[in-house]
């Protein structure tokens, strides 16, 4: 399975990574190598095997509905790169898939 440049571009956009051309080129090669190694499991017949998403055999771990103290707005915003009027300030929101 080799990864074409369009796929690299698409994935970089999904992952919000502004990669340089050189990085894209190298990424294409490296990801292709790594995926080639993963190719072995592609060919395994795993039809009836259930997936494991977790090594734990737990279920229904829940928390009682009790309110706890929050941070103060000052603490919440203390690490903000940019803030205004007690809110996190961000540049113009545009949509992008």
């Amino acid at each position: 399975m080799s990864l074409d440049r369009a796929a690299v571009d698409h994935v970089a956009r999904l992952a919000r990574l502004d990669l340089t051309d050189a990085e894209r080129e190298r990424m294409q090669k490296e990801l292709t190598d790594i995926l080639a190694h993963a190719e072995k499991i592609q060919n395994l017949d795993l039809g009836p095997v259930p997936p494991t998403s977790h090594a734990l055999a737990l279920s229904n771990v829940l928390r009682p509905d009790e309110a706890r103290p929050s941070l103060s707005p000052e603490e919440a915003l203390a690490n903000a790169p940019d803030a205004q009027d007690g809110r996190f300030r961000v540049p113009r929101i545009i949509e992008d898939a």
Partner: protein, 333 residues
């Protein structure tokens, strides 16, 4: 207009989001409240700070089951939270903890009646997720499109949010309006939400399409947003139904799009014509373990349901006809 004898047929499916009136947020202990200054109801968990983990609110699970049972749904024996991955600045982790192919409640229905007679609307699923924060758009007109920056308040982020998805069984704007009104009063009597549409604790999106009667394929699906009252659901969908019929009469092709309802003019306008290829990369949320409500838990919740409007408790045990509802998967383009 009696739509049933018309040459056109309208099909409406609804997606309704309801904020649950719990004391604390879905995955952390911050208080759920409309009051308070911006970012005063946040903590490392709901701000998505590094290393923090979600722990689900038991009451939110309980409320979701109540809604599912009141809508005659089957409660899943095994249900999972998934991550829905996309970037948006009002979403602290840039993924939403939601449910995907293993929702808590599935395959229910709500019977409605009115001038159109009586009809049964299938409920595809009722699932639980977390709400986003709120953006204020500054500069320009205050709408997102021409603003030059935005401000984010995460007080709402992480509020438990139930999504109710109906089957495309609704045949007119009036049926849609009655469905929303019935659902709203049902939720109110369940005591699970404020259901204040104006304040956004109940939010309705509609998928509307019109086709010639007898055609097999649905018409182009138009998603209508921003209907902030039951009345506006009726108005928006009437307008949209008429607009699509007129377009078909005129031979204009309809496109799949998202349209915004304007309360003042009573019209809808295109928000987004381009069909985005969203790729949410759903996968099971590894920070949470599965939900597996015991029969006992489900039956206790069922027994505790209040007397509901428009239906005796017996109606709740009424089972849907097998094979009627389709299981609609969240889309993975």
């Amino acid at each position: 207009m009696n739509v049933r004898e018309d040459v056109y047929e309208t099909t409406v499916g609804l997606e309704i989001h309801v904020e649950l009136a719990t004391n604390s947020k879905m995955f952390c202990g911050c208080e759920v409240s409309f009051a308070g200054e911006p970012n005063s109801r946040t903590c490392p968990v709901c701000l998505g700070m590094p290393g923090t983990l979600p722990v689900p609110n038991a009451t939110a699970i309980d409320y979701t089951m109540r809604i599912g049972l009141a809508l005659n749904c089957r409660i899943a024996e095994y249900s999972l939270f998934h991550r829905k991955n996309y970037f948006y600045p009002d979403m602290p982790k840039n993924y939403q903890i939601s449910q995907y192919d293993a929702p808590l409640c599935e395959r229910g229905h709500l019977d409605i009646s009115g001038d159109f007679g009586s009809t049964r609307v299938g409920i595809t699923r009722v699932h639980l997720e977390e709400d986003t924060g709120k953006s204020v758009h500054l500069g320009g007109s205050g709408r997102i499109a021409d603003s030059d920056h935005s401000l984010e308040d995460f007080n709402r982020a992480g509020t438990p949010l139930v999504e109710i998805v109906s089957e495309p069984d609704i045949r007119s704007a009036e049926e849609a309006r009655v469905f929303v009104a019935e659902l709203r009063s049902l939720l109110e009597s369940l005591g699970v939400s404020d259901v204040r549409m104006e304040e956004g604790s109940m939010r309705v999106d509609a998928n509307v399409s019109v086709r010639r009667r007898g055609e097999k394929e649905f018409g182009a699906k138009v998603e209508v947003k921003n209907m902030n009252s039951i009345r506006s659901v009726g108005r928006a969908l009437e307008y949209e139904e008429r607009r699509q019929r007129e377009a078909l009469d005129a031979g204009t092709a309809l496109v799949q799009e998202t349209r915004h309802f304007d309360e003042k003019t009573g019209t809808t306008s295109s928000l987004r014509t381009k069909e985005f290829a969203f790729d949410y990369r759903y996968f099971p949320e590894p920070d949470l373990v599965p939900l597996a409500p015991s029969t006992q838990w489900v039956e206790q919740t069922r027994a505790a349901l209040p007397e509901l409007p428009g239906g005796s408790p017996g109606a709740l045990r009424h089972r849907i006809r097998p094979g009627r509802s389709r299981h609609r998967r969240a889309h993975r383009v």
